[in-house]
């Protein structure tokens, strides 16, 4: 029993056929690494020297048993990566727990407007309602205005990024000549590379003034935030949708061409339907990007948290889930921080969920397409 476990561990660390003496050197490295991790947890002061010893042992092992050492180091990197990812997730949930426990359903309080709970997608019968929905001093927090602001901004962004992004993907994968593609594709990539704070700065200085003049608004508005976020989400939609269109087997469009269809007919009736789930994955990912966008929204919408009345008023403004964290964290009290963690977990769950769904779709498609080839 014990020997079986030892053999398993040995194989996991050393691979299938280790050379002689590898166990000693590699084992020393493993021990030192475990020692480092223990030191970090128990006596952080000694972590650095032990880590240095690990590095020295590894360097020695690298010269004597390179293959085994390399395998060990990549294994260590994998374990650390997986641990980091898991740890961040767990820690976030743990940090959000106190606020869940303290506030419960009150985190979803609906504002009372004109003496009645505001209509909120038929949820107003289920959720509590109150006059004040965000007042850190009184310990009153409701995420409803933040969630709704996120929904409006994401909707406007999706309306822009969705159709334009799909058209852009069609252009790159089907319409453009090679030379044109060489220009447009990096152009869109660079659009993705412009830092969000630059978008935010432009929105804050230029566009908020524009909307005051042209749309009689008082400055901050969902419309501008949505527009800007839409432009920022555009490259994501383009690149993922383009991948989906490119993975449609050539034989399908060749068949259409053989039937005498024009390129547009082929695109409309063959490529796009065949890639439709990939395109929806692209839009889901784009929406995820829009939901998670922080700095542009924070700069444009400002720090106010307030209900949107009426719900569809796109000239109103309130912090979104992300921008509330950005604006409030530094100056927040402990209880506010806990609530911000709830917002963070909400974002994490929604966006990671969207990513998982779109990956599932993509994987299914690639299996399907391979089946057809």
């Amino acid at each position: 029993m014990l020997s079986a476990v030892t053999a398993d561990v040995q194989e996991a660390i050393l691979g299938e056929d280790p050379t002689e003496g590898a166990l000693r050197t590699v084992g020393l490295s493993v021990l030192l690494l475990v020692g480092t991790i223990l030191c970090v947890l128990v006596a952080p002061g000694f972590a650095l020297p032990v880590l240095a010893a690990f590095v020295a042992a590894s360097a020695y092992g690298w010269t004597t048993h390179q293959a085994e050492m390399a395998r060990l180091l990549t294994l260590v990197a994998t374990v650390l990566t997986v641990l980091t990812v898991t740890f961040i997730t767990v820690y976030l949930f743990l940090s959000a727990a106190p606020a869940f426990a303290a506030h419960g359903l009150d985190l979803l309080t609906i504002p009372i407007v004109n003496g009645e709970p505001q209509w909120f997608l038929w949820l107003d019968f289920l959720l509590p309602a109150a006059d004040s929905i965000w007042n850190p001093r009184a310990g009153v927090y409701s995420l409803v205005p933040l969630i709704w602001a996120t929904i409006i901004v994401t909707t406007i962004a999706g309306l822009i990024a969705g159709p334009l992004g799909v058209m852009g993907a069609l252009f790159i994968s089907e319409v453009a000549s090679d030379r044109l593609r060489e220009i447009i594709k990096p152009g869109i990539e660079i659009l993705a590379g412009i830092p969000s704070i630059v978008f935010g700065f432009i929105g804050f200085i230029v566009l908020n003034g524009f909307i005051q003049k042209s749309f009689l608004d008082d400055g901050a508005s969902y419309l501008i935030a949505g527009l800007v976020v839409g432009v920022m989400a555009l490259p994501t939609v383009v690149s993922v949708a383009e991948d989906a269109l490119a993975s449609v087997p050539n034989s399908m469009s060749d068949g259409a061409a053989a039937m005498g269809a024009t390129r547009w007919q082929t695109m409309k009736s063959i490529s796009v339907p065949a890639a439709s789930s990939g395109i929806s994955a692209a839009i889901i990912l784009g929406l995820g990007r829009a939901i998670g966008e922080t700095m542009a929204v924070a700069a444009i919408l400002g720090a106010v948290v307030q209900p949107t009345v009426p719900l569809f008023d796109m000239f109103d403004a309130s912090s979104t889930l992300t921008s509330a964290i950005a604006h409030n964290y530094g100056s927040a009290s402990a209880s506010t921080v806990d609530v911000l963690f709830v917002a963070g977990v909400l974002l994490f769950v929604i966006v990671a969920g969207m990513s998982v769904v779109s990956q599932y779709i993509e994987r299914r498609i690639s299996e399907q397409m391979q089946g057809q080839q």
Partner: protein, 885 residues
């Protein structure tokens, strides 16, 4: 009918007729209105413009278009960019005709721009309707389908419904509801169904022209009759905002021009399947160009806004600028020399384009030479805005190039190192060429020993300080080394100049001398300079510093050798010898660049006095003064100082994040792809990393602030920022590296295994080199993204607005006797960074200087986009290389 391509010397093909021309004009008009709509939206031209202002505006548009069309036409005529599509030619022709017409109309009609736009929409409506009707009456030969299709019907139904709702809803004096049904709903249904029917019902030529014509007519009439004029306003009660003529008219125009372009493009291609394709492609193309236009507009706007502050007080000596300019000059020379290839371009034109960059850089270099010959300062004065007590003040400043001959060592080192690497990469090898002398081979063997000895001595100096302080060992060794280098570098010249046979013969025979003399000299001198640095000595014999002087002499000798070899090369016809001599030329140039770099390093190492050579002075302090980039903020000063601390902060953040994330991610990718069994585990890890990559960055900031900061000294810190961003970078490195490793064909691994190579050696020498391009590109793009990341930083690093001092990470390291033995206080303090500084300016409100914000945003863009430029160029380069192999 008009499908074929035009012949090259005709504007448009003979077969195309008036109908086609009219539709081309329609498309061109829609493009013009789209552009004008955009311009009015951005307030570049007021909607109320009349008279001279309007004429000037259209005249300007006409001039710009005529210039653009003209240049393309000239290129097309010269066969540089052959434009054969007669549709493109037709649209270009239509653009000119349309703009001439508009300019004439602006002169003839006393109307405002808004009215004019309304009239244009009406004209477009007329064109579309006429086109549709002409096709229906079979006056022209077209090929329409039976119906415009359900999709178009649906689209126009929706447009009609919205129009109906708005028209009925905004009509004054009508009851808001009839028998409980809101009237706007009735209007919407009526117009929606009507438009849908009008689109689907009749034959395609009418179905796809009449509805857009109607909509355009309504829009045009509303604007032209000033029912919605410039001053018009409508603020619905329950919205916080409203609509003005200033926003609605451009929206109408933009939407109308999109409709026109689609419909006219359909008409132009004679309806039917081909017409639909043309219409759809036109819109798709327009969309793609719009996206790139948005990108270009953003980058240009930030540049224009930020550049004045970012370059205030920028001064540089002409020689410094020349040093900076040398690598591009060499590159452009190489570009101009590149062989012609087999492009379809006209040869003369191709030569022209190869020479243009060289001419540009060359003329700049000549200008600089002129500056220090004449001794006058070249100056571009301008004003920039700063914020004093919350009010904007304009300051006078200038960008200037002075005739100074002073150069900073850093410029010399960077330029020289670039050139050295460039030439050395082009240099093949002269190892087995020419005669082998006995003394030479002993020198060749002795060199590594000498260099090793110097290295050892350097280590001794670092470890225990200067040994035998009384004796001038440092100076002696350095001088001896310098003399040896001089001998090495000058050795090849003698046999080259004198001796038997032709110059080419001698050069060929003495290849070994060149090889050992020049390359060995560079290597030995490098060791000497490193030794100088450890010995903290600047050996001087009287007034001269031997190391520097030897470097200059050696550089001259190398240049001479290169020149001689080049002359010999000209005289030979033999291919092999041609190549050998070519290698000697690049070797000579590489050595010259290397020696010049060493002068800079020598100055940096001794750091006492500038190195003077005639009028030229290479010192620690150069003649480059760039306050915006090289200074911290100056509180209460006359000038505002700069953003140096933020730049340094950003650089350290990027370095720290990459140091942590790249090795870890790469290792994980290798294990997951090569060692681990592909199955559930790898799939889960892949899904998790992908999910983590798309997680909002602010969530990482939350984690960093709540977990890292309490464990790292409990204050905002650079280390926390580096770690937080590295957690963001980690998934990306894993994803891109995995993809790159996966894309290495299995044949490579199989071939390696078949040769009996074990797994790790296969990975090290086959898989990783093949995957490297993908990994490098992915990592560069990821790092670019990290450099601009803001949200997590404001939680873990804070946001400083006017940092005066840059963080000193290297100087912050300190050794202690108690654990953890190494500390770095600098890493545990907060720092400014470019993105957080922009955020600080936003949150500062009125006390944030917008001009400084633009300059910071501009610098941030420069940093991030250079990462992107490098990444994208690398990818294109590797892809080409793979494709050609």
């Amino acid at each position: 009918m008009s499908e074929g391509y035009a012949r090259e010397n005709e504007l448009v093909s003979v077969e195309s007729n008036v109908y086609d021309r009219a539709m081309d004009v329609g498309i061109a008009l829609s493009i013009v209105t789209f552009v004008v709509g955009m311009l009015t939206f951005a307030d570049a031209v007021p909607l109320g413009a009349t008279g001279t202002e309007l004429i000037n505006f259209f005249g300007l548009l006409l001039a710009a278009t005529a210039g653009g069309v003209g240049i393309v036409a000239v290129f097309s005529y010269a066969n540089v960019v052959p434009v054969t599509s007669q549709r493109v030619r037709g649209v270009a022709f239509g653009l000119l005709v349309g703009l001439v017409g508009l300019t004439v109309a602006a002169v003839a009609l006393p109307v405002s721009l808004a009215t004019m736009l309304g009239l244009i929409l009406l004209v477009e409506a007329g064109l579309l309707a006429a086109g549709g009707v002409a096709s229906r009456l079979e006056l022209v030969d077209t090929d329409p389908s039976r119906t415009a299709g359900l999709l178009a019907g649906l689209a126009f139904g929706v447009i009609g419904a919205i129009t109906g709702a708005v028209i009925v809803g905004s009509l004054p004096g009508v009851p808001s509801a009839v028998v409980g049904v809101p009237l706007w709903l009735l209007g919407a249904v009526a117009l929606g169904v009507g438009f849908g029917a009008l689109t689907i019902g009749p034959r395609e030529d009418l179905g796809s022209t009449l509805p857009p014509a109607l909509i355009l007519g309504v829009f045009g009439a509303t604007i032209a009759t000033a029912a919605i004029g410039v001053g018009w306003q409508w603020a619905p009660e329950n919205l916080s905002g409203g609509f003005t003529g200033g926003s609605i008219i451009p929206l109408f125009v933009l939407f109308g021009s999109l409709l026109t372009s689609w419909s006219a493009a359909k008409c132009r291609a004679d309806f039917g399947a081909r017409g639909r394709q043309y219409g759809a492609f036109f819109v798709i193309n327009l969309n793609a160009f719009l996206m790139v236009a948005v990108m270009v507009a953003i980058v240009t706007y930030v540049t224009v806004k930020g550049v004045s502050w970012a370059f205030h007080g920028f001064t540089i000596g002409a020689l410094s600028l020349l040093v900076v300019l040398t690598p591009p000059l060499v590159l452009t020379i190489q570009y101009a020399r590149a062989p012609a290839g087999t492009d379809e371009w006209h040869t003369a034109a191709r030569q022209f384009f190869r020479v243009i960059p060289l001419a540009a850089v060359g003329s700049l270099a000549t200008l600089l030479l002129g500056i220090f010959v004449t001794g006058t300062t070249f100056e571009v004065p301008y004003q920039y805005a700063i914020l004093v007590d919350r009010s904007t003040v304009m300051l006078d400043t200038a960008v200037s190039v002075t005739p100074s001959l002073q150069v900073g060592n850093l410029l010399v080192i960077v330029s020289g190192a670039l050139l050295f690497t460039y030439f050395l990469r082009r240099y093949g090898s002269l190892r087995d060429v020419g005669t082998e002398y006995e003394q030479l081979s002993s020198v060749r063997q002795g060199l590594p020993a000498a260099i090793g000895l110097l290295g050892l001595l350097s280590l001794v100096y670092i470890g225990i300080g200067p040994v035998l302080d009384g004796l001038p060992i440092g100076i002696g060794v350095a001088t001896l080394g310098a003399v040896a280098v001089a001998a090495l570098a000058l050795a090849p010249l003698g046999p080259l100049v004198t001796g038997e046979g032709s110059l080419a013969d001698r050069a060929h025979r003495n290849s070994q001398l060149l090889n050992v003399g020049l390359l060995g000299g560079v290597a030995l001198l490098t060791a000497v300079v490193v030794f100088e640095w450890t010995a903290v000595s600047n050996p001087r014999l009287g007034p001269v510093a031997p190391v520097g002087v030897v470097a200059v002499i050696a550089a001259l000798a190398s240049t001479c050798a290169a020149g001689l070899a080049s002359r010999a090369r000209r005289a030979t016809d033999d291919t092999l010898r041609h190549r050998i001599l070519g290698d000697q030329v690049t070797l000579g140039l590489a050595a010259a660049a290397g020696y010049l770099t060493l002068i800079g390093l020598h100055v940096a190492a001794t750091s006492e006095v500038p190195f003077v050579l005639g009028p030229i002075e290479i010192g620690i302090q150069g003649s480059l003064s760039w306050p915006a980039v090289l200074q911290g903020a100056i509180p209460l000063g006359e000038a505002p100082g700069g953003i140096y601390p933020a730049i340094v902060g950003t650089i350290w953040i990027v370095i720290g994040a990459s140091l942590f994330a790249v090795p870890l991610g790469l290792g994980a990718a290798v294990f997951l792809t090569e060692y681990a069994e592909q199955g559930r585990f790898t799939e889960v890890v892949e899904t998790a990393t992908n999910a983590l990559w798309s997680t909002p960055s602010i969530v990482f900031g939350l984690f960093g602030a709540a977990f890292l900061i309490p464990r790292l000294g409990d204050n905002l810190s650079l280390l926390a920022a580096q770690l937080t961003l590295s957690f963001m970078l980690l998934p990306l490195v894993v994803i891109t590296s995995r993809e790159a490793i996966k894309s290495v064909p299995d044949e490579y691994r199989d071939a390696s295994a078949a040769l009996g190579v074990d797994k790790w050696k296969t990975i090290r020498s086959v898989v990783i080199p093949a995957a490297m391009p993908g990994v490098v590109t992915g990592v560069i793009l990821g790092v670019g993204r990290i450099a601009g990341e803001t949200a997590p930083l404001i939680l873990v690093l804070g946001s400083e607005i006017n940092a005066t001092n840059a963080i000193d990470v290297l100087g912050g390291f300190a050794f202690t006797t108690s654990p953890p033995f190494v500390t770095n206080d600098a890493l545990l303090t907060s720092s400014a960074a470019l993105p957080t500084q922009v955020w600080a300016i936003i949150t500062a409100g009125v006390s944030g200087s917008a001009s400084k914000g633009w300059a910071t945003a501009f610098m941030l863009l420069v940093v991030v986009l250079s990462f992107y430029a490098v990444g994208i160029t690398a990818r294109t380069y590797f892809r080409r290389k793979i494709n050609y192999e």
